[in-house]
């Protein structure tokens, strides 16, 4: 025999348990709301994070690549799509002399058609340690020394062998560090110094291993793939780009801001959509809950009039309605957020791929923040929607409700 006091909370729990369909329907509304609020905010934040990570990794204001290869360059940055393109090394010095250019560095790209490390071809990026200003700041986060010949830093999606090495074109490389995930093409790239990548390319070329016409035809010693340019402060980017085009032939220029612009615009649209959708859903959920609570409470008039007859104050009656709505809201919110987390976190990579945008889940602190906000917004929807019914039932003449309830 239960000996616990029959409090309003206990009474509410018994009521909810006694009407599983009614309770389930009300809870489902909050569940959907919490699912959408949490899922939407995490998705939105992940896209924002992805774009920030991409922005942070670029470092250069302008990238100069062989004429016609601007899309291939974007492929390296955004999706890690392996590419090989080369132009003459002298272009680096030509660009350096252009008015408005502060500093330049070059990179050399080589892709593997097959490797024992990965299920997909890998982009090998050769950096010039003497001039590099692009990768140095974020490589320094995981590795403080200069990259020596035969050493390699790998992106977060690359799986090393057990002995911490990787083999490319029959050459073994020691992995000295692994980068943090960025949700960009960098995650599927490896970084070596320029002399290593060139000797690797030369070796591959001589052995005919997995190389294509570009590699075969290139004078590898005097070739580079891209020149990354930092412009002087206060000088307009477009002006510098125009200056480069006038001074250097055979190059295509990719401006970082343009690279971002389309994504940034897409992201703004997605964020606006998520915001408007969340607000609309919240209002809709609140209206549906108001209606459901109103109908439900109306059907329970007799029950409330009995409580009043037995000595419940008006405040207690309102409290019973609000307690029930709070219990439903809390349960619905917890389940909704859990389901949302189950869908989003394990499948974040897939979601990112499907969206075709840089997708980087927020950190634990931010996630907890979104969780808390989604939880509070979803939880508050229940009691807020039940206020009207709670006030109405507590103000109604008991005698009248008893008669109506019969």
């Amino acid at each position: 025999m239960s000996a616990k006091p029959m409090t309003i909370t206990r009474l509410s729990l018994y009521n909810l348990r006694g009407k599983p369909f009614r309770s389930g329907s009300l809870m489902a509304v909050v569940l959907i709301l919490a699912f959408a609020l949490f899922g939407g905010s995490v998705l939105s934040a992940s896209l924002k994070n992805g774009l920030s990570a991409l922005e942070g990794r670029l470092g250069a204001d302008i990238a100069a690549v062989p004429l016609g290869y601007e899309n291939s360059y974007q492929g390296i940055i955004l999706s890690g799509e392996p590419v090989k393109f080369y132009f003459d090394k002298s272009i680096e010095q030509k660009i350096k002399k252009v008015d408005g250019v502060e500093k330049v560095t070059s990179q050399f790209y080589l892709s593997t058609l097959s490797a024992d490390c990965c299920s997909v071809p890998v982009q090998i990026i050769g950096i010039d340690p003497n001039t590099d200003f692009v990768t140095k700041p974020w490589i320094a986060e995981v590795y403080h020394n200069e990259l020596k010949d035969g050493q390699m830093i790998i992106g977060s999606d690359i799986l090393p062998k057990k002995d911490n090495t990787l083999t490319f074109f029959n050459q073994k490389f020691t992995i000295v560090a692994k980068l943090e995930k960025t949700a960009t093409g960098m995650d599927n790239s490896v970084f070596v110094n320029v002399s290593t990548v060139k000797s690797l390319a030369e070796s591959a070329k001589q052995r005919g291993l997995g190389t294509n016409a570009e590699v075969q035809e290139a004078d590898l010693e005097n070739s580079i793939s891209s020149v990354l340019i930092k412009t002087k402060k206060g000088i307009d980017l477009d002006t510098v780009a125009t200056n480069i085009r006038r001074s250097v032939d055979g190059v295509s220029l990719v401006k970082s801001k343009n690279l971002f612009e389309s994504f940034s615009n897409n992201l703004d649209i997605i964020n606006s959509f998520v915001g408007i959708f969340s607000l609309a859903l919240w209002i809709l959920a609140a209206l549906v809950l108001t209606l459901l609570f109103s109908v439900t409470i109306n059907n329970r008039k007799k029950e409330f009039s009995v409580l009043r007859i037995l000595g419940a104050t008006r405040r207690k009656l309102a409290g019973a309605v609000l307690t029930e709505s709070l219990i439903l809201s809390i349960t619905g919110s917890v389940v909704g957020i859990l389901l949302s987390a189950i869908v989003i976190f394990p499948f974040s990579t897939l979601i990112g791929e499907q969206l075709g945008l840089p997708f980087l889940l927020p950190g634990v602190d931010d996630t907890l923040g979104y969780l808390l906000i989604a939880f509070l917004l979803a939880v508050v929807a229940g009691p807020l929607s039940a206020i009207y019914s709670a006030v109405k039932i507590s103000r109604t003449e008991t005698y009248v409700t008893l008669r109506e309830g019969e």
């Binding site: 000996a3 006091p5 029959m6 009474l11 009407k19 008006r314 008893l402």
Partner: protein, 229 residues
């Protein structure tokens, strides 16, 4: 005196016309009284009961409990009056469907914030009304008579001074009606004031005092001469 009803009048408006559902009624409820009010539907007997319970406010008059007019009390105070001073047995089935029998009975005990354990007391009352075996059953599994016994046990849980019953035998067969009336009579004999309204003339046999209510006017009847058409 447990409760004193003094010159209660309740007027309602029907269109432009007003009429008195209760007309200058005075009544005293004393310990041991089993007062039965007989009247037709619409005679004002349920309205009078609801006024005594503080559920409806009168147009005029007062109901005194502990020498205070209950209509001057705050909602919290009048709720406490309903919870502690009177035990109300509403018309029809008034149990909460989602609570089992014992929880229904002990519910009023906790409505005023009482935290003490009440299950033993509830079981004691269920034994007294003869349905202890049904303690864990839910109302949907109980007959009309059993539900009425639950309501009586529930009305007694806070040991009130008066029991007010609104047509407690209206939907019961003759034998169950007799059982319920006997039970209410025993409650009165136990020192409570019991006031019930009914259509059932047989109830008068169990009463210590009986009244007829017609057009809001309450008239006491000699036991052997109940005039009721």
């Amino acid at each position: 005196m447990a409760i004193a009803v003094k010159n209660i009048t309740k007027e309602y408006k029907r269109g432009k016309r007003s009429f008195k559902a209760v007309d200058d009624v005075s009544l005293g409820l004393h310990p041991g009284d089993f007062i039965v009010i007989i009247g037709k539907s619409g005679s004002g007997k349920s309205t009078l009961l609801n006024i005594i319970a503080g559920l409806t406010y009168p147009t005029d008059g007062r109901v005194e409990a502990d020498e205070s007019n209950i209509f001057t009390l705050t909602d919290k105070q009048i709720s406490r009056y309903r919870n502690q001073t009177i035990g109300y047995i509403p018309q029809g089935h008034s149990t909460l469907a989602d609570l089992n029998v014992v929880d229904n009975v002990r519910l009023p005990f906790h409505l005023n914030g009482e935290k003490r354990i009440s299950a033993d007391k509830a079981e004691e009352l269920l034994t007294r009304v003869g349905i202890h075996a049904l303690a864990k059953n839910f109302p949907k599994h109980l007959s009309g008579g059993e539900l009425k016994r639950v309501a009586i046990a529930r009305a007694l849980i806070n040991d009130p001074e008066a029991i007010i019953a609104d047509e407690p035998t209206s939907d019961l067969d003759k034998q169950t009606t007799a059982e319920v009336l006997t039970l209410l009579r025993s409650v009165a004999e136990g020192g409570k004031a019991v006031l019930m309204v009914t259509h059932d003339l047989d109830a008068v046999k169990y009463a210590t005092r009986s009244f007829v209510m017609e057009s809001g006017v309450l008239t006491e009847q000699k036991k052997e001469a109940v005039l009721y058409v």
